[in-house]
Amino acid sequence: MVILFAVFLLTLLVLTAVAIVRTENLFVAVMLTGIFSLLMAANFFVLDAADVALTEAAIGAGITTVLFLGALALTAEHEKSVSAGRWLSMGVVIVTTLVLIYATFDKPRLGDPQAPVHLHVAPWYLDKTPEIIGIPNVVTAVLGSFRGYDTLGELFVVFTAFIGVLFILSGRRGRHLPSNGRASSSTDQGLGHHLIPKVVGRLLIPFIVLFGFYVQFHGEYGPGGGFQAGAIVAAGIILYALLEGETQALKVVPPPALMGMVVGGAVLYGAVGIAGIVLGGNFLDYSVLADNPVTGQQIGILIIELGVGIAVCGALLSIFHAFAAREPS
């Protein structure tokens, strides 16, 4: 039964991908991308990856769609069709697909417990997490503690992208201040004049933010963690910005606060690592943070997840504001 459902979801996924590529209206393509991400999240959930499903639903279906729409508003809504080289590339793509499908016959079947990927280090993590870290969610334990260096690196990739976007999009056409009499532009007005989005949105926003905090602080016990929570809280505030206007949202969370969040979150993560060295352990070794090594691990993961959540939320909001504050050329 589950496999039939999975086949149904995957078929829909393939059809959506083809539809995205075929349509020449970019607005339609972006909307279909949101559906694509939601289907992908459902697939991840069927495949037992609850944490990844939550991340894909919050980031893929939520924030990516908004960013693409922001970019469309500044560029063009229709693409011009190009016919040169179409059949050649179609041929190359079909041949490569067939080669890839031929190669899959050597793969282990879905769910095979004897597949090589399950026989190496994965059982060790599943066995030792309750003993060494003492938290139920193995994904959070591996993310925060065993592979803490990797997560720190990923956070700095987000940080670098945030700096990059601000560098590229700030400048002469940058921020328009509310005092210079241009409050009539569409980004300042928001959707406030539409009654239904306004009422429903105002009802939803507190719950979205509350759910974000739940995902943040419950990430050790259930699916969730800093990356998801940061994206969910950012999505709530972006919804607020869409309803009440860009200027109003910047009053709630001003740009200096956003900068502080991104830098502060990254520094908080690094500081936990340094604290490990100061207390006599290795960089990002949380065992020395408390008298009991297991408690130390839990404190360390809680703090670094908080740092990740704050930094991701700040970075995504800053990127959104960078697009929204720009005047169409």
Binding site: V30, T55, T97, L126, R147, I168
Partner: protein
């Protein structure tokens, strides 16, 4: 039924190549970025497919339950962070596209190349 166990990989192959097709044939820069994120999602699907174990559940250990089979947590950790990095790189790409539009007045690849050639 045996071959149905490979359906995930086939869907991966088709979605991957759909994304690649958009990247190589479409001239519109935003469409290229959409293709790139489809390509990226297909890779996520490949990794998450490999983490599934028959009869398993999400790797969240429950107290007092000892005979539960868990799916592999490692691919999940890799992909969780990869999704967040993916949105960051997409945002950077979109920012560059917006600047190209402001400088050239178009985001179609062949028109940009023509403008470069004329100048």
């Amino acid at each position: 039924m045996e071959l149905l166990g490979l359906y995930n990989y086939w869907a991966f192959a088709v979605v991957l190549m759909t994304g690649l097709y958009a990247v190589i044939t479409k001239g519109n820069l935003i469409k290229k970025l959409i293709g790139l994120s489809i390509f990226q999602s297909a890779v996520f699907l490949l990794y998450i497919t490999m983490n599934k174990v028959d009869g398993g559940t999400a790797p969240i250990v429950q107290k007092g339950v000892t005979d539960q089979v868990f799916s592999n947590p490692l691919p999940q950790v890799l992909i969780l962070t990869a999704i967040v990095v993916g949105i960051s790189t997409t945002a950077l790409g979109l920012a560059i596209v917006v600047r190209i539009k402001e400088s050239y007045g178009t985001i179609e690849e062949h028109e940009i190349q023509n403008l470069d050639r004329d100048s």
